[in-house]
Amino acid sequence: MSALASPSQAHGRPWLAQGLAGLVLAAMAWVFLRWGLWRAEFRPDAQACQALAHTGACWGVIPAKGLNLLFGHYPQELLWRPALLLVMVSLGAAALWRLAALRPAIAPTPRAHRANIAVALGTTAAITGLWLMGGGFGLALVPSTQWGGLPLTLVVALGSYALSWPLALGLALARRAAQPWLCWPATAIIELVRGVPLVTLLFMAAFILPRLTPQPDSLSLLARAMAALTLFSAAYLAEVLRAGLQTVPVEQQEAAKVLGLGWWGIQRRVVLPQATRAALPALTGHAIGLLKDSSLALVIGLHELTGGLSLSLGGDPLWRPFYFEAYLFVGLVYGLMCWGLAMLGRRMEARWVHAPG
């Protein structure tokens, strides 16, 4: 029963509304199926696609340009490395999915230990991932300017997400501190970053950061983009965490103090676990937002999943007219990742927030 239905509306004509909705749906389905299925060209045949003149979809662009779309300009013969990275990230996601099902009360290791294990595992995975992408120590070197597509999106999004956590924690705790010399700068940084568009932060990273380092090109474009995204993510994450921190009753801190815990112990063992659990829905939203915002790195010339598209299609007169189909494919990849994150968040919520114990 919906909230809109009122006793006075219950006597209306529901069949009219239902029929109208059905008609709209049928019309949309008809248009899409005719274009995307019946008249579509699935073979990677550019001539056949051109002959359709957009009356049907040209899905052939995906098999023809798929590897380029997914991996950008990464050296062809070394493609197994970014592919392995994708496998690694998928396995990590699967492990997280399993982990999210563990109930805190019956988990074998104490909570704090598990956090340490998670951090150690994450660091190892990050180093392995960067080694796979960049090479060195026995693998051929691939400079980050040649990285692209989905692996680059994952490196940028996951990297800046991980890096922004400690920064955000510091900012959130500082903003809540009683000392003005902690509270004011943290507030200023958070509000400044939240008040300007991400594009301007990326421009700052692209144009101003090189002037602050001793050598202009000592930081790669990737590192600078990640610096901007980390700062951006940290400012928003800090506010999410601050909202979570506010839900923890002050009596708990007092109780922990009476029990003899120090400030750091109180934060780590009492306040933060509860704060992060309370903020879980907002944390999911923030992670999804960061994944989507990583696409903005394209405006300073990083060819991640969105930017890689213009790289692989823009210079190709044969496939250039079929950007739209390729865009839909890229949108599907983003959609699946965001949907997966949302599901993961919901699963964690169900187990950690609503479950007893």
């Binding site: 909230a3 400044l192 991400l198 421009f203 903005l296």
Partner: protein, 286 residues
């Protein structure tokens, strides 16, 4: 710093809205045109997004399951893909799939859509200084008369407003659901018409929950309008970026952009706070 903004800009701007501008004008005029372009896309986008959001929210709360599903699908599609991707899709559709401007597509009387953009009737002064409505008509090579917006503007407007509407609809839905059903039933029992029930009972109370969260979404729209740089619409960031590339003054150009956005953010949240206070007060007096 002030000298910097007084020097001639030296670059042209593709579309200037209602402002007069050419490359010989001082740099601050170029920034002003950029800001004008930002507002020209953000303000109508904000209105359109709000209207769409209300429609989507009502759809998701509809008594008809099919409407609920469809509205939900639209919202999820827009929320789960990057805005930049949606912007590029809109832009590509407009410049690739629309007819050429010598055979524009008439979507309604006086509205012409083509690769050249959208032409619509507008109140203009002719060469004798007489103000009148002019109607666009199809000419040999393009559509003349009235006013027109470029495909860049249209793409940005559509992408921004649809993306924001998807997020805003969740805010609106949450606000509408936050009003206890018992109050709506009470309104029914007191003999309120369906219209009164919505405008006198439901919306005023829902607004109180909606306004603070909607402010965030409005600010996001404003900041997201900076994605204009990806399709070449000359908004504040694009103009600033051009100035930066021409003069190399990264600190001044970026600083100006950021300061302007900060001021706009403060103004918007100030206005919304005032609006919120007014509504909260009305609630207390009632």
């Amino acid at each position: 710093m002030f000298d910097y903004f007084q020097q001639p800009a030296g670059f042209d701007i593709g579309e200037t809205g209602l402002m007069l501008y050419d490359a010989s004008q001082p740099l601050w005029r170029a920034f002003a045109v950029g800001l004008g372009n930002t507002l020209r896309v953000a303000l109508p986008g904000l209105v359109w997004a709000s209207m769409l959001a209300l429609l989507l929210a009502l759809g998701r709360l509809s008594a008809v399951p099919l409407w609920r599903r469809m509205a939900g699908l639209v919202v999820e599609i827009h929320r789960n893909t990057p805005l930049l991707l949606q912007l590029l899709i809109w832009y590509f559709l407009l410049v690739e799939w629309l007819p050429d401007s010598n055979a524009a597509w008439s979507i309604a009387p006086g509205l012409w859509l083509s690769k050249g953009g959208l032409s619509f009737p507008w109140y203009l002064a002719d060469e004798h200084g007489i103000w009148a409505w002019t109607w666009p008509v199809q000419d040999t090579f393009n559509v003349i008369g009235g006013a027109a917006v470029t495909p860049e503007y249209l793409a940005l407007f559509l992408a921004l407003s649809h993306y924001t509407a998807a997020f805003l609809s969740e805010v609106v839905r949450g606000g509408l659901l936050s009003v206890p059903r018992s109050l709506l039933e009470a309104a029914d029992i007191l003999g309120a018409t369906p219209w009164q029930r919505i405008t006198r009972v439901w919306l005023p109370q829902a607004l109180r929950a909606i306004v603070p969260a909607a402010t965030n979404q409005y600010l996001n729209l404003l900041k997201n309008s900076s994605l204009a740089v990806a399709v070449g619409y000359p908004d504040l960031v694009s103009v600033g970026n051009t100035a930066l590339n021409q003069t190399g003054q990264a600190f001044i150009c970026l600083g100006t952009m950021m300061a302007v956005y900060l001021c706009l953010s403060l103004l918007t949240s100030g206005f919304m706070n005032w609006f919120n206070r007014r509504h909260a007060l009305m609630g207390q007096q009632a």
